[in-house]
């Protein structure tokens, strides 16, 4: 027959040790959330978090801000995808879109995150060009090629009022957030970025005299 007597509580010493451990963890959790805020963090929080808590909370994947904003209607909140084209073959037959139309669920979501990270990381000097070169070079093997064009396509949802007034389609529009040519020359991966049309300065005509 099962013994239903309540178990003894942990000893005084065990409770004291666990209280200190839990207290430390809760402070660490609060500092991780504060230290990863998209609004930035103070030097004090950064220092305490970085020196005392990040070293042991990073490895178990607990050094996070959990700031799941879902959307702010910013361009980077739209869905992103890759468009890879082989440059040493007829273009139409060798274009691959990732995630492809048959990909579903979390697998497709991971490709979208990679595409978004590729576009967004170009604004970070420490990460610039790393992912585009890596993703482009990743296509060399499967395609047996050494020259591809890589684009990150960004979907921009339409404003609801524009759809209602007929100025925009509910499907929204897609623009090229990033484009580059990635090629392998003598074992070295080269990245030639394309200047996107929306990044060009407007042409100013000389006034006629």
């Amino acid at each position: 027959m099962a013994d239903h007597t309540p178990p003894p509580p942990p000893s005084e010493t065990a409770r004291a040790v666990l209280t200190v451990a839990l207290g430390l963890y809760l402070v660490g959790l609060a500092l991780c959330v504060a230290g990863h805020s998209s609004s930035g963090s103070s030097a004090l929080v950064r220092t305490i978090h970085g020196r005392l808590f990040a070293p042991w909370m990073t490895l178990p994947w607990l050094d996070l801000g959990y700031d799941t904003r879902l959307t702010h209607a910013a361009p980077e909140d739209g869905d992103h995808s890759f468009e890879l084209r082989r440059l040493d073959a007829p273009a139409a037959s060798e274009t691959v879109v990732l995630p492809g139309p048959t990909m579903r669920g979390e697998r497709a979501a991971r490709w979208r995150r990679l595409a978004r990270a590729t576009a967004v990381s170009e604004a970070n000097p420490d990460r610039e060009a790393l992912l585009p070169a890596a993703v482009g070079a990743g296509a060399f093997g499967p395609w047996s090629t050494s020259d591809v064009s890589l684009s990150v396509i960004r979907h921009l949802p339409p404003d609801r009022s524009d759809v209602l007034s007929g100025q925009a389609d509910v499907a929204g529009r897609r623009d090229r957030a990033y484009a580059a040519r990635v090629r392998n020359v003598g074992g070295e991966v080269q990245l030639i970025t394309s200047t996107l049309r929306n990044e060009l300065a407007p042409l100013v005509k000389e006034p006629t005299r």
Binding site: T58, L70, H72, L114, R127
Partner: protein, 305 residues
């Protein structure tokens, strides 16, 4: 006249109240069922997330893959490392991946749980560190759930371990304070994650002007259901959905700490979190949050075996 001496009970000080609440919250032993349920459902979610890497494992992490370990120095903290960094051949990569999947399966069915629950958490987080740019909010929440399973005695019920114990005539497991700590940590994280999410959302105008639901629904690929037609016709409904998400997340984050509110908000969360996940195009995140909520069910938390 003789005055009768009266023994006055000392009024509890604020420190007594706080200390007593702390001790009750963290150290009151609880039965194994709530955490066992979290283990089964959290394990299934972890398996689903783990499986989502299978098709592209070599494309991403293989020797000639897109995400080489050298690239990760710009993405990872210097304190981060992944066991998959050392898988330098496709065979080693697949060996680690299959082994990790089997460990997570063992966690889900409750086989050798004291060992596999720790190994499962290590395997899962080491895969996340291998490709941090692929990680989504569901991964973050499931990592928390797996560590909590490793802390508590999650294999004491609904498990192969328990079946083996019954077969060998071992006594029923008693209530455990380790399980209580695990459930307490699940509740803390549920509250913190909901609070952090709502704070992040409220930095954007669309969560104030009531159009966030439209911007979520109008994305091209993420949404599981097309709500654009409904939101085009019914502006108030779109506003209501937007505000309801924010209000629910606020109530969930704060209400977990008040028993009367918790009795309502947690069951609501079991339905609301998956719905938010569907609207936001992050269904596994919604389900993971519901599993966190499951660990906060008042009747279960208070019960002792």
């Amino acid at each position: 006249m003789n005055a009768t001496p009266r023994v006055l009970a000392a009024e509890p000080t604020l420190a007594d109240v706080i200390g007593g609440t702390w001790m009750r919250f963290w150290f009151t032993p609880v039965g194994p069922w709530p955490l066992a349920l979290v283990r089964v459902l959290g394990g299934l979610l972890a398996l689903a997330l783990w499986a989502s890497y299978a098709w592209d494992l070599e494309t991403w992490f293989g020797p000639a893959g897109m995400i080489a370990p050298a690239l990760l120095t710009a993405w990872r903290s210097p304190f981060a490392v992944s066991l998959f960094d050392f898988a330098t051949s496709p065979a080693a990569l697949w060996l680690g991946y299959v082994a990790g999947g089997l460990v997570l399966l063992a966690v889900t069915i409750g086989l050798a749980t004291p060992v596999t629950s720790v190994l499962g958490a290590i395997a899962f987080t080491t895969l996340l560190h291998r490709g941090p740019m692929l990680v989504g909010p569901a991964d973050d929440v499931v990592a928390v759930i797996l560590w909590c399973l490793a802390i508590g005695r999650s294999g004491d019920a609904l498990s192969v371990d328990r079946l083996i114990g019954n077969w060998r005539g071992r006594p029923e497991p008693t209530a455990s304070f380790r399980t209580r700590i695990a459930l307490g940590l699940l509740a803390v994280h549920a509250s913190v994650i909901a609070a952090a999410a709502v704070l992040a959302q409220l930095k954007g105008d669309v969560w104030w002007n009531g159009t966030a639901a439209w911007w979520l629904a109008a994305r091209a690929d993420s949404p599981l259901v097309d709500l654009t037609g409904i939101f085009l016709r019914a502006e108030y409904l779109m506003n209501l959905v937007t505000h309801a998400i924010v209000v629910f997340e606020m109530l969930f984050a704060a209400g977990l700490w008040f028993l009367t509110v918790r009795r309502v908000i947690v069951p609501v969360g079991l339905v609301a979190w998956p719905l938010i996940g569907v609207i936001a195009g992050e269904p596994l995140w919604g389900l993971a949050m519901a599993v966190l909520a499951l660990g906060c069910l008042p009747a279960r938390i208070e019960s002792t075996t």
